[in-house]
Symmetry: C2
Subunit: 334 residues, 2 copies
C-alpha cells in the first residue's frame, strides 16, 4: 500500500512475456521452465529492480524466511560477549541463505508465555535456543514439527539437534597440559555444573586424570559460578586446606584470573608455584599478568555451525549434532 511503486509479478510477467506462474517458478528455481523464458524473466527482474515481497510469499507459501534466536531474558546471558558472538555467526550464515534472524530476548520460563505463543504461531520457520535450562517448551515445539537447534548441549541426552564446543575435550586438553608440566595436584574450579558446559568441563578434567592413572580428589573440585570473585575465594580457601596444590584448571578465564590473584596474595607465584589454565581465551587472557594459558573455542564457528544445522533441517536433511574442536593456547600462566 505504501510502496506500490515497487514492481510485482504482474509487471515482470508482462515485461518477460510470460505468465505470473512462470515468473514464480523461475524465481523459485523450478528447473522445468524453458531456459530461454527463464532468462527473459531474469532479465525483467534485473531491468525492473524487482524484489520479492516477503509477506506475500509467506502468506501464500506458509514459509516466513524467519528464524527465531531465542535468548532467555537473563541479563547475564546476553551481556556475555560469548552469546553475542555466536549470534553474529548465526545471523551471517542465515543471511547468506536468504533467511532472516529474529532476535527474541524474553523470558522463556512459562511454557505459555509470549515467546511460546509466538513460536507456535507459525511466524517463524525454525527456532534456535541458547543455553537451555528448561526443555519443556523446546521439546514441545520440536514435537510440533518446528525445526529446533540448540546452541550448546542439552542437559540430558535427547533427540534435540545441537552444536557445541567440545567442552569435555577442551577441559581434558587443559588438564593434560598441567599434568604434562609435572603438576602433581591439580585442582579445578568448575562453572555451573547444573548446565552441560560446566559439567562437561569437569568431566574432561577428571578424564585427563584417569588417562594417567590418577583419580582427582574430591577436595580439589571446587564449585565456582564463573565469576572472578568465586575463582579468587575458592582458590584462597583450597590453598589453606590443600597447600600441596600446584596446578589449577578453571572453567573460564575470569575464574582463572581470580585464582591467580588469590595465589599471589597467598605469597605464591604463578606459574612457578602454581600453574593456572583458563577456558575461553577472552580479552583479558592476553593482557593479564601473567598472561593466561587457556582453551580457545571457535565462537563464530559455533554460530555458523548452528545456522548450518538449521538450514539442513529446513531442507529436510537428517542432521546430527556438531562438536567443535578447541585449541590450547599456551601463555605464561602454565
Amino acid at each position: 500500500m505504501k510502496t506500490n511503486e515497487r514492481p510485482t509479478y504482474s509487471q515482470i510477467a508482462i515485461h518477460a512475456g510470460v505468465s505470473e506462474a512462470t515468473v514464480s517458478r523461475v524465481l523459485n528455481g523450478d528447473l522445468k521452465v524453458h531456459p530461454e523464458r527463464a532468462s527473459r524473466v531474469h532479465a525483467a527482474v534485473e531491468a525492473l529492480g524487482y524484489k520479492k515481497n516477503r509477506a506475500a510469499t509467506a502468506l501464500a507459501s506458509g514459509r516466513t524466511g524467519l528464524i527465531a534466536v531465542v535468548i532467555d531474558d537473563d541479563l547475564s546471558v546476553f551481556a556475555d560477549p560469548f552469546w553475542a558472538t555466536v549470534s553474529s555467526g548465526i545471523s551471517r550464515v542465515l543471511l547468506e541463505n536468504e533467511l532472516q534472524t529474529l532476535l527474541m530476548v524474553a523470558s522463556v520460563d512459562k511454557a505459555d508465555g509470549p515467546v511460546a505463543h509466538y513460536l507456535e504461531g507459525g511466524e517463524v520457520d525454525g527456532a534456535i535456543f541458547f543455553q537451555l535450562h528448561k526443555h519443556a517448551l523446546v521439546r514441545r515445539l520440536s514435537k510440533q514439527g518446528l525445526p529446533v537447534v540448540i546452541a550448546g548441549s542439552p542437559n540430558s541426552n535427547s533427540e534435540l539437534i545441537f552444536a557445541d564446543t567440545d567442552n569435555f575435550g577442551g577441559a581434558a586438553q587443559a588438564t593434560r597440559h598441567l599434568l604434562s608440566l609435572g603438576c602433581q595436584n591439580v585442582a579445578t574450579i568448575t562453572g555451573d555444573v547444573e548446565a552441560s558446559a560446566g559439567l562437561q568441563r569437569l568431566n574432561g578434567y577428571q578424564q585427563a586424570h584417569r588417562e594417567v592413572g590418577k583419580i582427582a580428589s574430591k577436595a580439589l573440585i571446587l564449585q565456582g559460578d564463573y565469576t572472578f570473585e568465586s575463582g579468587m575465594r575458592l582458590t584462597a580457601q583450597v590453598l589453606e586446606t590443600n597447600p600441596e596444590i600446584d596446578g589449577i584448571f578453571a572453567a573460564n578465564d575470569l575464574m582463572a584470573l581470580g585464582a591467580i590473584r588469590a595465589i599471589e596474595e597467598s605469597g605464591r607465584s604463578v606459574p612457578q608455584d602454581v600453574k593456572v589454565v583458563g577456558f575461553d581465551d577472552s580479552v583479558m587472557a592476553t593482557n593479564s599478568k601473567p598472561s593466561l594459558t587457556t582453551i580457545r573455542q571457535d565462537i563464530v564457528g559455533l554460530g555458523a555451525a548452528v545456522a548450518e544445522l538449521m538450514i539442513a533441517s529446513l531442507n529436510g536433511e537428517i542432521v546430527t549434532p556438531r562438536i567443535l574442536k578447541t585449541e590450547l593456547v599456551i601463555r605464561e600462566s602454565a
Copy 2:
C-alpha cells in the same frame, strides 16, 4: 498451508456473530465498534486461542511489525558486550510493543549491498543502526521515509534521531574527579576520535580543564584505540616524556587497565603517584587491582531509549535525541 488448523477471522466472526471487518476493527483497537460486540469478539478470540497471522497482516496493511537492528559486519563490534547489551534492551522493549527485532549482521559498506536492498524493500517498518560510520545509506533510507534511529551519536550534526550515553558529560565527570583530587597534570588516552563517542570523551576531558581555568596540554592527549595494549604503550611513553603526570583519564576501562600496568612497571603506584579513571564500568573494573574508578553508563537503558524513540517515530510523534546520564563510580584507582 501447513498450519491450517489455526483459527482465522472467519471462525472468530462466526463465533462472535459479527463480520470479519468488525473482527479486524476490534483487534486493531477501533473504538467505534459497539462495546458489546467488541467483547463478543474478544471472547471468541480467547475461546479459540486465536493469534493473528503476521504475514497476512503485513500483506494487507503494509506494516510488517519488524524492526531491523543493523550491525556492521565488523567482528569487533558485536563481540563487544556493549552492543549485545544494547541489543537486548532494544529487543525487550520492542517485544513489549508487539514488534519483532530483526538482527542483521552484515556489511553495510556498499550502499547497494544486500542490507540496503533489504531495508529498501519495505520488509521492515523501521531500522536501527549501531555505531555508524557511513551516513550515505542511513540518510537515504531516512529520506525515503523509513523511520531510522541511531544507537550512539551520528558524527556530524544531522537531523537523524539518536539516543546515546552522555559521553561528553561522563568524560567531564571523570576528569573533574581527578582534578578535584588535586591532580595537576591529567593526561587522557582517547578512543577512536574519528567516531563521535571518542571525540566527545576527549571534549569532556577538555571541558573539565576549562572549568577550572586550565588548558589541557596537547602533549597530554594520547590517541589510543580502546585496546589494553594501546593504553599500556601510550602511558609508558608519556611517563617518559612527561614524568609530572599525576592523573590519567582513559576513554575505556581496558585502556585504563593498560595504563595502570604501565604506571606500575615504571615504578610508580596507583593511586598514590598517578590516579586513573576509566569509562564503562566493565567486569574487570571491579576485579582489577587496584579496582578501577570509572564512569558507568546505563547500557540496557540505552537500548530501551533507542527502542522507545523508534516506537515514537512509528507513531508519527516528533522525537528528539535522548542523552543518557552517566555515573561516576569511585573505587581504588582514583
